[in-house]
Symmetry: C2
Subunit: 313 residues, 2 copies
């Protein structure tokens, strides 16, 4: 192994942190999952513990770690290392990079989790072409990667396709608009529209649809058509070559994937123009257990180190 | 003036060609408009005549012209210099660059007219930030410019926002889908929905709406909401800083601009998220008579020369 330092990446989710240690050549040296704390102090503590546990289990000293990147839900001020409105983590405003760096010493960089996953998925696929990562979870958002770099856009809303309205008569979205893509294929909106108790409401919807429940069938159609709409928007605006679909709803497996493909094919059958785009061949589902988000975070953490070397050296 | 050659750019429209001669420092040395021929041979002839007339009126020899760029409606194979399906020009398939180069000697490069206008508008604005050019004409399409370069996308559909459906119950689009953005704010779709004779149907719609005609008021709302939807899609996917609106419908002036702004503001009032984007402040209407499209074509023509110098030198 080279003497260049190990890069650590953390994907901080609502319940767990996925942590990877990445060698300079890109090899994943170690990986572990730890529970995420709730609230600002607990989030910082659980991140510090994840890094120290990962170092211990991978046989590294903390001084071997050259940088840590964190992918985290919420609005992220990348340059300032701050997280704002990460409601699933109980975080209102957190100086995450500064606090973690003060505790552990190495430089931290923070990025929105979907953007980190987009970069990680693109690099792990070896994709030099453009790619979008469409995250179907409680909410819906995408990250766009052009030429191996995250496309952040002018004001950080690149890939926010969840809040594009595709039906003026659709359900009211939490954002205040009607018929947003997220109202069709976001897990939160689907659970609310379903309105029945259950730990896995979207799975319940698909089970009930398979059993012939008309309300469930309508929501299943919404799920597939909403995700298909997001794919169409990404290709007809940014024109990415591939849309990789990830997020919690991908636990639905082929019932999700086959449904999205079928919705894209049905659209292509109605439209000669859409059929030329071959969208059904341009989607992929991120493999279960993929380290893409934590790996992408590691790359982002290393990118700040490179920047600092340029600035200071 | 430097000894570097003059760059000529042509914006080939359905009725006229707008031609500019651009000095190496970016100054526009001369400009003229000529009628466009109908059909493949006549299109080539009118382009050859526009270049020779422009040279004569600007006091240039043809050998002073280092390159010619052509912006033209239709599907363009940029590398091959071919135009396919330019229905407004009576062109099915045309080896335009090769034929024009054979007639005049200097290298030609061909690009889709909306993409050429996007580049020209971005450079004329001095915009280093990202920009989209939204063309509202018979149809609706956008060109996206990041960092002074046209974003073509993986398969050439970047900016094709006209065929994103925003209403599953909307009017049938020529593309086979329902409720495409183009069915709301494309001049062709609006004229068809209006269904009354007249040389300027969209202006007739606005006049009738001002006079209280309910059908016209509904179509006027469609126009403004459709254009606002295109702006939203461009910002929530590619996140361009500014959307410059051009095309034939901008002849409607403030009746178009004020209506699009009002639609964006009404949306922002319903949605705290949308209000943070300040979309009504991020649109501009391309000034009447702007040479943006021809100027952008000139830049594109020069870019092929540079490429050839690299390849051959």
């Amino acid at each position: 192994m080279s003497t260049r330092p190990v890069r650590v990446g953390l994907d901080v989710g609502g319940t767990k942190i996925d942590a990877v240690a990445v060698a300079p050549d890109g090899e994943i040296l170690g990986r572990l999952r730890r529970p995420t704390g709730w609230g600002e102090d607990a989030v910082v503590d659980s991140i510090v513990q994840a890094v120290t546990a990962l170092a211990r289990e991978t046989g590294l000293a903390l001084t071997d770690i050259g940088s840590v990147g964190i992918g985290i839900p919420g609005v992220v001020d990348v340059d300032g290392g701050r997280v704002i409105h990460a409601v699933n983590l109980g975080v209102e405003s957190l100086d995450l990079a500064a606090r973690a760096q003060a505790a552990l010493g190495m430089p931290f960089r923070v990025e929105n989790d979907v953007k980190a996953a987009a970069l990680g998925a693109a690099v792990l696929r070896g994709a030099s072409e453009s790619m979008a990562y469409l995250n179907l979870g409680t909410g819906v958002a995408a990250g766009i990667v052009f030429g191996g770099r995250i496309h952040r856009g002018a004001r950080g809303t690149a890939g926010e396709v969840g809040h594009i309205s595709v039906d003026p008569n659709g359900r009211l979205c939490g954002c205040g608009q009607r018929g947003c893509i997220e109202t069709f294929c976001g897990g939160g909106a689907l659970a609310k529209a379903w309105g029945r108790p259950g730990a896995l409401p979207v799975q319940d919807i698909l089970d009930a649809a398979d059993a012939g429940d008309p309300a469930a069938i309508a929501l299943r159609d919404d799920l597939h058509h909403g995700a298909a709409a997001a794919v169409r928007v990404l290709v007809l605006s940014a024109d990415v070559e591939t849309v990789v679909i990830g997020g919690g709803l991908t636990a639905l497996g082929s019932r999700l994937e086959d449904g999205i493909r079928a919705a894209l094919r049905a659209d292509a059958e109605r439209s000669a123009f859409m059929s030329t785009l071959r969208l059904d061949e341009r989607i992929e589902i991120l493999a279960a257990g993929s380290p893409a988000a934590a790996f992408g975070a590691a790359l982002i953490g290393a990118s700040v180190s490179e920047k600092e070397i340029v600035f200071h050296g």
